[in-house]
């Protein structure tokens, strides 16, 4: 690790981290402020939802959710938090080394007396720090939103903590998968389309996997590896899927190091 690269990397992402964190806080607090209305009209709400086709409810992951409970409602919002976190983490993953190449600053950095492994480790740790800040903000605003708006309704804090603990696994997945894809393709010209593609793609796959129950799509999408409805329902992770998720992350990281150390840095053309 090189402290100077770490600090430099962290600084360049600071603005983005603040924007993501504020947006997520807003999303959590705003949507959870609607909870009292849902909870008061619970019977009506569940009846209303039941009228939608089962497939549609499954597509939004609502088939296993009880919107009248604190965590049932929270898990519905958490799905969108996950989507945002997925896009943010993919964005950092795709951009981690490709931005230096598309903006042609890679020559500057890599002609310095540092090894490629050092560069990648410093960059990864800086990105992870940025993601952790967002993660912590989600923790704080989740607890804040729930205690502000839950009223008389009780909930199981252990399950909430379990949900929130899954964020780091989730972020690491998108960070490392984004990184490895950016190293597998020849050149990433613009990071955003890739990041949106990976984030939304995984989400859509998970929605499909809800509709077609027999298709084993849950094996490939982290939205199913860490399914908020499942965690709330069972008060536990789907351990094999979480392990699969972690395994993909580790492989992606290992392959990234292997590729980056051997990579030919493209010149100006």
């Amino acid at each position: 690790m090189s402290a100077n690269i770490y600090i430099h990397e962290f600084r360049t992402r600071l603005k983005s981290v603040i924007i993501w964190s504020l947006s997520l806080t807003f999303l959590l607090v705003f949507y959870f402020s609607l909870f009292p209305v849902f909870a008061d009209q619970a019977a009506l709400m569940n009846e209303f939802l039941a009228r939608y086709p089962q497939q549609l409810r499954a597509a939004f992951g609502m088939d296993n959710m009880d919107m009248s409970t604190v965590l049932g409602f929270y898990s519905f919002i958490f799905l969108f938090v996950q989507l945002c976190l997925a896009i943010q983490a993919s964005n950092y993953g795709f951009g981690l080394v490709s931005i230096e190449e598309s903006e042609l600053t890679a020559d500057f950095l890599l002609s310095k007396p540092v090894s490629r492994a050092q560069v990648l480790t410093s960059k990864l740790l800086a990105a992870l720090t940025s993601l952790t800040i967002t993660n912590l903000v989600v923790w704080v605003s989740s607890f804040a939103a729930i205690s502000l708006f839950r009223g008389e309704h009780e909930y199981e804090p252990g399950t909430l903590i379990l949900l929130l603990l899954s964020i780091v696994i989730f972020q690491l997945f998108f960070l490392s998968v984004g990184l490895v894809i950016s190293l597998l393709v020849k050149r990433v010209r613009s990071v955003t389309p890739y990041a949106l593609g990976l984030g939304f793609g995984a989400y859509v796959l998970s929605a499909f996997s809800g509709i077609f129950k027999d298709v084993k799509l849950e094996l490939i999408t982290p939205f199913k590896h860490i399914d908020p409805a499942y965690i709330v329902l069972h008060g536990a992770y789907d351990t094999p899927l979480v392990l699969l998720n972690a395994a993909v992350t580790l492989v992606a990281l290992a392959v990234s190091y292997w590729l980056y150390i051997r990579r030919d840095i493209p010149a100006v053309s």
């Binding site: 890679a106 020559d107 007396p113 030919d264 010149a267 100006v268």
Partner: protein, 290 residues
Amino acid sequence: MSVIEVTNLTKYYGKSRGIVDVSFSEEEGEIFGFIGPNGAGKTTTIRLLLSLIHPTSGSAKVFGKDVTTHGPEIRRDIGYLPSDVFYYEGMKVVDLLKYSASFYGKDCTQRMHELSEIMELEMNRRISDLSYGNKKKVGIVQGLLHSPKLLFLDEPTAGLDPLMQRKVFDLFRAENARGVTIFFSSHILGEVQRLCTRVGIIREGKIVEISNIRTLQQNNYKKVNVTASGLDPATFEMPGVTNIQAENGTLHFFFKGDINAMLKKLSSLKLSDVTIEEPTLEEIFMHYYE
């Protein structure tokens, strides 16, 4: 001691050629000129030596160490000025230079300010506001601030005005006088002629000639200009004469061979003017490209 030692270095980008079978060496304290047209492989060679890219075959050593295995160690004593400079756009010049210096684990502040003064660099401007020439100046300061032992200059004067070019050359000469070895890549021969002691000429990825700049000029061709009325180009059709061109009653040609034979031939004619000169590197260069 050889500072750079390149042996049969080859680089292919997929199927397209970078360089093929390039071998040369550069001694300590030397200024080695590396000349060739665009796309000949000059930049590829430098990027290989900095291990920004990896060789397909062959090997390269800098300071006696292999570039692929000892990259970080080697780069501690290298300064690199790329032909096109790109830096973090949002940063201020001074912050970029400090970031650059932070990699070398020593205090470079004094040298940094010295160099910026010489280059008339405005330290508080943003990189994104700089013109190409000004970015180039940042590049030069950035490449020199840690007092490297070996400098890679890839077309260093492109984008600089003539006054600044001269300053930059003085700077490079001063560095060289302190014992810094310089690897100077350029397609502008005048530059190379002014600065370098030895040159390598690269063409289509292959080294076509490595020689002392003097021997390249002396042992080669003489450029002869003859003016006389009613000259017939056929008069000079003798061994060693090439490239005869007639222009306004003057004949220009290159001659390589026994100069006495040429003088004898010339004295047999009635001339109004004659010059025999050493060709510029440019002209020798064109010869290699034919």
